[in-house]
């Protein structure tokens, strides 16, 4: 990693993150590193490093951080969050960072698929005649899946 360019830092980043739902506790971190020590993803992929991500937030490295693909590698197991002595909800922080990346158009391509599916059918997997026929054969009730309101509900 290159030396940090101080001119690029945004000291307000941590405050903005702390105003988002789930980001409130970020400034309490005292860098003990238990999040990183217990993270199952960091064990496999050292590039994903919760303690370093928190340092980047506190230093204000918004630009560098939000474009990192590793933000999308968290498995949301909540181990970091449950082990943090300062009650920093790091798993929630990851969701906040992802939301911020999406707003800036920095999220990896293809992630909008979930939203389109919900928009159209209200669920991730379609339930049509074929699926209902199979359900009927197994003695399970039909699913009508009324999702008429979703498009309106998810309108920007």
């Amino acid at each position: 990693m290159d030396p940090i360019d101080l001119k690029k830092l945004d000291p307000d980043f941590k405050h903005r993150l702390a105003r988002e739902l789930g980001g409130e506790q970020i400034k309490k971190c005292f860098s003990c590193g238990v999040c990183s020590a217990r993270c199952p993803i960091e064990k496999i992929e050292p590039e994903y490093n919760p303690r370093r991500i928190i340092r980047m937030i506190l230093l204000g490295m918004e630009e560098e951080l939000l474009k990192e693909e590793f933000l999308w590698h968290c498995s949301t197991c909540y181990t970091c969050q449950e082990s943090c002595p300062q009650e920093v909800d790091f798993t929630e922080v990851i969701f906040v960072l992802r939301n911020m990346a999406v707003r800036k158009g920095l999220a990896p391509a293809g992630l909008g698929a979930a939203r389109n599916l919900l928009d159209q059918q209200g669920r991730m997997y379609e339930i049509g005649d074929f699926e209902n026929e199979k359900r009927k054969e197994m003695g399970l009730p039909e699913i009508k899946g009324n999702a008429k309101d979703y498009r309106e509900l998810l309108k920007d």
């Binding site: 496999i44 498995s75 181990t79 969050q81 906040v96 209200g122 999702a147 509900l153």
Partner: protein
């Protein structure tokens, strides 16, 4: 005991064995599960994209259950975890609640915050209880052993999961397995995540995570890995062949749902519990078990 039955996206399309066995077990134990026609996705898949949108979708489902006057029972741990989380946010944050309710107007719904959300397994453990289940066991699974997989969203975050289990030493599924007469294995990777959430973005990483657990369970022997979440099932059952290839190792770890295990011990047959749909079965367990009668 009556609940609105929240199936979510995956179970009613891809895991009919879980749905069949859960419905059978519920009926047998006097737990009434009511299907609500308009239930859709819980909202969790939107959380990474837009937290507010995901809460609106969760609130839509919660409001439907409120209209029916019923608490919610989920089969999927991600659905259960996220609906509980949304419920907690909206119950404690009035501004957020009115913001969400503004958006719910297009669906003709209002979220009030009056009902609770519980995972099916938690209902078995807390409401029906180990002792009442014990009284109903007619074909104990003595001599068989299973590895419980709790997964993450069933017990965490502890703040909104209802404190069912200490996160570092969960007991509910272990005790539920043992009440069937089978032995529940304790093992090193017991608490590990399945990796399901990363599957869509980095498959190899997800497979490594799931592979660690499958390798250990395979080494231990036993009659299979017991699941309570369809998301975990995607990793351990659907991905197992690919994981075998990656690890260059034969695994063949049988994967089954807890409700299927309990159904057998309560006296019904594998077909009723949808075992035909399990891709990796322990045939010796299923036939050995039936021969006992």
């Amino acid at each position: 005991m009556k609940y609105a039955f929240f199936l979510g996206c995956t179970v009613p399309v891809r895991n009919l064995n879980y749905e069949l066995s859960a419905r059978w077990v519920a009926r047998e134990l006097g737990l009434e599960l009511v299907d609500l026609e308009d239930f859709q996705c819980c909202g969790f898949p939107l959380k990474s994209l837009n937290l507010l949108d995901s809460l609106v979708v969760a609130a839509r489902n919660l409001a439907l259950a409120e209209q029916a006057g019923l608490p919610v029972c989920t089969l999927c741990s991600a659905c259960g975890g996220f609906l509980s989380e949304a419920n907690s946010h909206l119950q404690h944050n009035h501004d957020l609640k009115s913001q969400v309710n503004d958006r719910l107007k297009v669906s003709g719904l209002e979220y009030k915050g009056t009902i609770q959300v519980k995972h099916f397994i938690r209902i078995l453990y807390e409401e029906i209880g180990i002792e009442r289940i014990r009284e109903r066991i007619t074909r104990p699974l003595y001599g068989f052993s299973f590895a419980p997989h709790y997964g993450c969203h069933y017990i965490k975050p502890a703040r909104t999961a209802g404190g069912i289990d200490p996160v570092e030493d969960p007991k509910s599924l272990t005790e539920l397995i043992e009440v069937t007469g089978a032995k529940a294995l304790r093992y090193e990777t017991l608490l590990d995540c399945c990796g399901g959430s990363v599957l869509g973005i980095k498959e190899d990483l997800a497979n490594t995570l799931a592979g660690n657990k499958l390798s250990e369970v395979n080494r231990l022997g036993g009659n299979g890995l017991v699941l309570i979440c369809p998301f975990c099932n995607v990793m351990f059952e659907n991905q197992q062949k690919k994981i075998e290839k990656k690890l260059e190792q034969k695994l063949k770890v049988p994967v089954l749902y807890y409700s299927q295990l309990l159904g057998l011990a309560l006296g019904t047959d594998p077909d009723t519990l949808g075992f035909k749909l399990n891709r990796i079965k322990d045939k010796e367990f299923l036939t050995g078990f039936e021969r006992r009668d």
